[in-house]
């Protein structure tokens, strides 16, 4: 994203917020504010996209079903547009690109939003219909997790552009999920 007047103004606001939060006095006006849901959506969404892209890459290269390959290609195209926008907002807000990993959050719930290396190597051992079935299951799981984050943002996010993005993502991801389920 090209830094323009809006970005500069938002950066100034971030600086003011930092002062306020450390207890110092400061002044400033509230521009389009963001909330914790926006930040969580962007951080978790970027992690989900990164993981989904690895699966989709393997699908593009190796799936036998042309519809599955088509969905993977379409997803990768959408992510190439969405991810830079999402990173841009975090950058402007001065937030890290990833949330601090905390295993305690996941206690008893397996490895949320994170496939293991063995899952990718496991895919490498499969071929034909078996590969298609396993890769489609991984891609669907990734999209279902992403959909929960996206719908959380659509309901509770504050930053208008991020809420709009989540609404667009809800429509396109649901369409892609439907096509994968019909294969």
């Amino acid at each position: 994203m090209r830094p323009g007047p809006v970005a500069r103004r938002t950066l100034a606001l971030v600086a003011v917020l930092a002062l306020l939060m450390t207890g110092a006095c400061g002044g400033g006006e509230q521009a389009e504010a963001h909330n914790d849901t926006d930040v969580m959506f962007l951080q978790m969404g970027l992690a989900q996209i990164a993981e989904g892209d690895r699966i989709a890459q393997a699908v593009e290269r190796r799936a036998t079903d042309p519809e599955v390959r088509a969905v993977a290609t379409e997803l990768r195209g959408a992510w190439r547009t969405e991810a830079p926008m999402m990173r841009g907002w975090l950058q402007v807000w001065g937030k890290p690109m990833t949330a601090a990993p905390d295993q305690k959050l996941h206690a008893g719930h397996g490895d949320l939003h994170s496939l293991r290396e063995e899952d990718f190597t496991g895919l490498g051992d499969l071929a034909g219909a078996e590969f298609d079935r396993a890769a489609t299951a991984l891609l669907l799981a990734n999209l279902h997790n992403a959909m929960e984050t996206i719908r959380m943002q659509a309901a509770d996010g504050a930053y208008p552009q991020a809420v709009e993005l989540a609404e667009r993502m809800t429509e396109s991801r649901q369409n892609q999920i439907q096509r994968l389920l019909r294969v």
Binding site: G27, G28, Q30, D36, M44, G110, L112, A154, A155
Partner: protein
């Protein structure tokens, strides 16, 4: 004006950590994708009028031991609706059920039933499943149209995940009505259904409801008051989300 803004920033920061805790268990779970379970047929658009399940077919979670397709309770009751034209997949006497897993819960068993008969049980002894899961189950002794109930019993919670799969064993039973044509064309998506808002008075906590500060609910017989406006998700139950609810 500035003071109010400062306060809201601080409040927001204070709940951030707890919200992160709250969101994790929400992204959980799993369902049978093939042959398509009822929730898969809802999510794919093969069956219409399903409600919110279309966005989270993996979330049919309820206490263990139910024989209902939604696991009992009030959520996702559409899955129990026998008047709906659930498509039945034509299968042989041996069927491989494939799961989509969105969280690897430590697992005690995977059980499969037709009516009151348990067809199979796979004991994982508390292990976490792999990223995908498949079971091959014999349906010997059954024919025609049947509903297979699958239960994924979680080792470290009181809950299970439920999936019902309608099958036509041997292809002899036929469908009660012709297999419905998908009502959603591949190029369009359904609009999200509006989020219900909690009305005044005390209600039973329900996922999908938008709660305002001060709203009162009961959950498992305990009364709670909302501390932070939010839309409830499965996994954000009041006992686990101190940032959102306080017991009263």
């Amino acid at each position: 004006m500035r003071r109010r803004f400062t306060l809201s920033v601080l409040t927001g920061t204070a709940v951030a950590g707890s919200l992160l805790v709250a969101v994790s268990p929400a992204s959980a779970h799993g369902y049978i994708s093939s042959p398509p379970s009822r929730q898969a047929n809802c999510a794919s658009g093969a069956v219409s009028g399903c409600g919110d399940i279309i966005y989270e077919p993996q979330s049919v979670e309820a206490p263990k031991g139910s024989t209902q397709c939604n696991g009992g309770g009030s959520r996702f009751a559409v899955l129990n609706d026998t008047s709906k034209a659930w498509p039945a997949a034509t299968v042989g006497t041996s069927v491989t059920f494939n799961w989509v897993i969105t969280a690897r819960h430590a697992t005690s068993t995977w059980e499969y039933f037709i009516g009151g008969t348990r067809l199979a049980s796979f004991n994982d002894n508390g292990a976490q499943p792999g990223a995908t899961k498949s079971h091959t189950v014999s349906l010997a002794g059954f024919s025609g149209r049947q509903t297979v109930l699958a239960r994924w019993n979680i080792a470290d919670t009181i809950n299970a995940f439920y999936s019902c799969v309608d099958v036509n064993i041997g292809g002899t039973g036929g469908n009660p009505t012709p297999t419905p044509t998908p009502t959603v064309s591949p190029t369009t998506s359904p609009k999200p259904t509006p989020t219900p808002t909690a009305t005044s008075g005390t209600t039973t906590w329900a996922a999908g409801t938008a709660y305002q500060v001060g709203a009162r609910v009961t959950y498992n017989g305990v009364a709670y008051q909302c501390r932070q406006a939010h839309t409830a998700l499965v996994g954000w139950e009041p006992p686990y989300t101190a940032a959102l609810w306080s017991a009263v």
